[in-house]
Amino acid sequence: MRLTTYVYIALAALAVLAPLIGLYPVFVMKLLCFAIFACAFNLLLGYTGLLSFGHAAYFGAAAYTTGYLVKTLHWTPEVAILGGMALAAFSGLIVGAMAIRRQGIYFAMITLALAQMLYFVCLQLKLTGGEDGLQGVPRGNLFGMLSLSNDTTMYYFVLALFVTVFLLIRRIVHSPFGQILKAIRENEPRAVSLGYDVERYKLLAFVLSTTLAGLAGSLKTLVFGFATLSDVHWSMSGEVILMTLLGGVGTFFGPVLGAGIVVALQDNLADKVGSWVSVIIGAIFVVCVMAFRRGLVGEAQAFFGRKKKTA
């Protein structure tokens, strides 16, 4: 068996046993939500080569939608999550259809601009609660039966969804569709010359990514019980880029590791170094860009790849 297989088995065991060995379930759930978010973002940046600077919009839109559906309309959580994802997919379709007509920095700027518009909509709307946010969202009963208010039950629900997303992204990337996405990333004119309708592939990748980002936002609302402006703020879009780059863009496990590092730093340093958290995370980002551009997992893969070649 390959080394990575062992790593995956060990991590899976750790994830399943986490609540039993004393890891704080709410913290791990938060980490998994952001890991889903980063994996979804990676599908777009890592495998299609599109840098969206407004992914917080889909994360936040779904977060608010799920919160509203559960709190005000008393929907069950699984349907509310689907509702959140549907809205994220729909807004992804609209934004994507406009943005993919441009490339590079212009693409990034269009996604950023539209995300900022959504931020101001969330600030103004009554049902989002403006700067106070949508608060006190109950977790509800899964399928109307299983109460999620217990942290351990909620944890396994989140974990199951995370594993599903992780495997789904693997499947997408390894499918013929994923191969075409990579071809577009490597050389777009060539993909066009081979007869592929590049725009449609890009749009589909964009919508898939926003839908999964929406799943992350919806889950986050259920875990914590609120959706606020920080979910749609541009700094959240920046954070997901940071997570993906730090872990390793275009690797399966990189975004998960990146999300883990960023969330762990933000949570654990908040009470130890106070105001220095942002400086430390910024410094790590600079070091990452200067010294290891492939990210942690990317560098590790390159290292073991070289070893294999020489051996």
């Binding site: 890891l23 946010g133 949570d267 105001s275």
Partner: protein, 402 residues
Amino acid sequence: MKLKSLNVALALALCISAASTQAQVSGNTVKIGFITDMSGLYADLDGPGGVEAIRMAIGDFGGTVLGKKVELVSADHQNKTDIASSLAREWIDQQGVDMLIGGTNSGAGIAMAKVAGEKKRPYFNIGAGSTRLTNEDCTPYTVHYAYDTAALANVTGAAVVKGGGKSWFFLTADYAFGISLEQDTAAVVKASGGTVVGAVRHPLSASDFSSFMLQAQASKAQVLGLANAGGDMINAVKAAREFGVTKTMKLAGLLVFITDVHSLGLQATQGMQLTDGWYWDSSPETRAWSKRFFEKMKKMPSMAQAADYSATTTYLNAVKAAGTDDPDKVMVQLKKAKINDMFAKGGYIREDGRMIHEMYLLEVKKPEESKYPWDYYKVVAKVPGEQAFQPLSKSTCPFIKK
């Protein structure tokens, strides 16, 4: 992470076994948790100064209560609601925090109130102004200690009209906070016999206020009410000065902190009226405490920092009087105690969690009137808490029986 959690679990197990012999204080220490913005736009107002104020309160109390050590943990929520909420949860679940103090940012403040309510821990909110904390999002464990936007609107509206500012024009930040501030104030102005001649809404984080200033000038109103905060308020004040609006109109800031006046300078802010819950230079007692604070932080305390001190002392007094840190018994004690210290005279915590105390209408001094550093305000009026805050009968808090 794993190792740390194991340690925490072990420590908790030890604490539990220790607690069985000492029943009245959980975990053998009284632990206070403080979560606020330490690095962002509200850091000046509360932040590290707030931590220092709480430390001073613990020190002045003797460092112990009921013979047990008082500990403080503090954190920077970086204006992210999820960090505030998950830290509060983790502290209560794993570190045995007995009381939480929430700082600035109302989104984070309400999220922490929900966690504290669910876990049954006393929660003092200082820095956030949202009235939702004692209305639809209230819990039996929340104490909203320093101020809220309803009080700011009430005091500024009523007192300015009383002082002759009959006709008003509003400059409002175009989102829920600004609009509710404008509407609350306008209602008070009308009820006190004044008139509102108009209002103009500006987008959040606007940089150019010139057209708004011309509209304000053309209205011929006596008072320009600034229903905005932070950077918007600062830019609006600067623009008002540059356009000479301040020559014909009086500025009334609806949410202005002493740190804003300090950064704007007296030249720009002179003559502006504003409401605050506390001013460092209002009595010998406040001056004495503020001098001590100044020695540590090199700046004078804001209302929020003074309230951090006062809230900690009030809580420790309640623990002492109740003879336990049991949350329900402490809350009963808190709601019957009178608060008399350098922050509040005769203050009390109402059933819905609102702390009622005197509010001040202040006027910014002219540069030549300011005799020493931080000598910024004249006290125009002192408004009793019962008039300043929203009456209990109007509270939408679900557990208040009517």
